[in-house]
Symmetry: C2
């Protein structure tokens, strides 16, 4: 697998340099860190921090900006950031109203974010957090107890970021996170494995006519391999899993996120979007928000994930539509 | 190559369906056509139309919206739209102030857009056009006399779209296009070929350690194949070609567009952006605008292109920064 890089061990550092250099009015780097932070911090608002391993770009640094994340902590590729990095992000982001951490459900992330939370609280910074576990494909996985956190995390960033921008308190943001996360569910299908630059070959290999349902964003095993199917068939399979997990009720409102995993052309993502939206119509669901594109990738994995969010409160939809200034939303 | 599609021959039609279904407040489809048009047309402003073969998503439909394109005509994959499709787009987009066509320099596109222009003028619609030929890699190519039109076209859309939004006349937009196009130059490097869905296999194949400089966005031949190099080395090679083509003068202002060709992760594009921006700094150029991401792709080609635009007039920079409502800018 050919990579457009210099040195695999310096890829995250150079990526952040490139990100900051190309967005000098929007983003800054906290000195001596792998933390991307808003250039102009909001005053007297709760800071929202996310992060995790790199390799999921534009997540998470592409969502830093007014109305969304205050900062993103960028770990090495597919590796949790260290507690001291997260602690530094908390210190840099806090404007006195406290800091809220959005953590994807991976054991390493949880351990390190919780440790950073403890360190910050010892310095008198108010910190709270939520754990996103939207991937319904499997229970427990390579790096996870319970369900994995995947593309639905972006919707959490968006809604909590809007709440912060609108002046919500740390306690209100915590409550909101507890309400929205159970209503966000994701499932994906992989057409190819991803190549971690330091490894240099794909994490798994599928045959030329083979796909795998439910693969994680670090290449964790899914729930079934089978022959390549049509977009329509794949949409049916993923929707049937989501239908059972929610379960769907007629006339409910849903937001839809169709997320490319990295190497699948946007043309194909829109073909898939068409199949998804038609089938949700036949389920008599009311799709009130749709987004299509590469938001939470897995380096160069080919494939796509489908996230549905049940919009129980119209305020959530308003927050999804609230204006932001970020690179990637 | 696995494709997330249903029927290769219906891919563009279904892509447009998916695009419209997922952006119902922003975009509409002109009935019985492959034309994507703004839902709310500007009144009394010059319409800007672009288009060409599909397979370059988000180009061009992703740039339809307030402040940028009025409509995009989507041909079959890597195939010019027909004159009657373009003619229908002109009729649908015109609000009485005339229509301006942004054409990439491919023989088929020029022939069909010119024919449509003639048809529209016979019906009394004022039409003018420009031809974008920003790719400095080669002179003449598989489908082109002269130089090819590639990612720099997006900057033309952006600047002319802002001019239209600001109330420029058809003649003023024509003059502006004639000034900016010679100041936009692009060159790319491919890591892999693209697979046209109806063909089912890559248009060309590179060895596992091989790259090709100057490949076109339909896989047209470039100027040299060699062993894979570092991002820094590739940036040097592409900048050296651009340096000679402009040529660079100290303290000039430039806009930079780093464009992923489809399958290259954003992480790597930012690593490359870092190398490009550092090297332009050593050339004593003043980079006043940067954009990084997938804007003009070649289906699932891996690789990247580098576009520089010399900002001769600060008004061009203002127009690059002018606010827009599109899916993909």
């Amino acid at each position: 697998m050919k990579k457009l890089i210099n040195n695999p061990s310096d890829i995250v550092n150079q990526m952040i340099d490139g990100l900051i250099a190309s967005s000098p009015t929007l983003l800054a780097r906290v000195a001596d860190s792998q933390i991307v932070i808003r250039k102009n911090l909001a005053i007297n608002k709760v800071a929202i921090i996310s992060g995790g391993g790199s390799g999921h770009e534009p997540a998470h640094a592409g969502f830093v900006g007014q109305g969304m994340l205050t900062a993103a902590v960028c770990g090495q590729v597919f590796t949790s950031p260290t507690p001291d990095q997260i602690f530094n992000a908390i210190k840099a982001a806090d404007s006195g109203q406290g800091v809220f951490l959005v953590i994807k459900n991976y054991s390493g992330d949880i351990m390190n974010f919780e440790m950073a939370k403890d360190m910050a609280e010892m310095e008198g910074i108010k910190v709270d957090s939520c754990i996103v576990d939207d991937d319904i494909a499997v229970e427990n996985s390579t790096y996870t107890q319970g369900k994995r956190g995947v593309a639905g995390t972006i919707l959490v960033h968006k809604i909590l970021g809007a709440a912060s921008e609108q002046g919500a308190s740390l306690a209100e943001i915590k409550q909101l996170s507890a309400k929205i996360i159970p209503n966000i569910k994701t499932i994906g299908v992989a057409f190819s494995g991803a190549t971690v630059p330091e490894v240099g070959k794909p994490g798994f290999v599928l045959a030329e006519d083979e796909i795998e349902y439910g693969v994680g964003i670090h290449g964790e095993p899914g729930y079934r391999r089978e022959k390549l199917q049509s977009s329509k068939f794949l949409a049916q399979e993923l929707i049937s899993k989501l239908k059972a997990a929610f379960p769907f009720q007629k006339n409910e409102q849903y937001a839809v996120l169709i997320n490319g995993l990295g190497a699948t052309p946007l043309m194909e993502q829109y073909v898939f979007a068409n199949d998804v939206l038609r089938q949700l119509e036949t389920e008599n669901l009311n799709v009130v928000f749709t987004k299509v594109g590469n938001y939470m990738t897995a380096i160069d994995m080919a494939g796509v994930s489908l996230t549905l969010m049940k919009i129980v409160d119209n305020d959530w939809l308003e927050k999804l539509n609230y204006s932001v200034t970020t690179l990637a939303w």
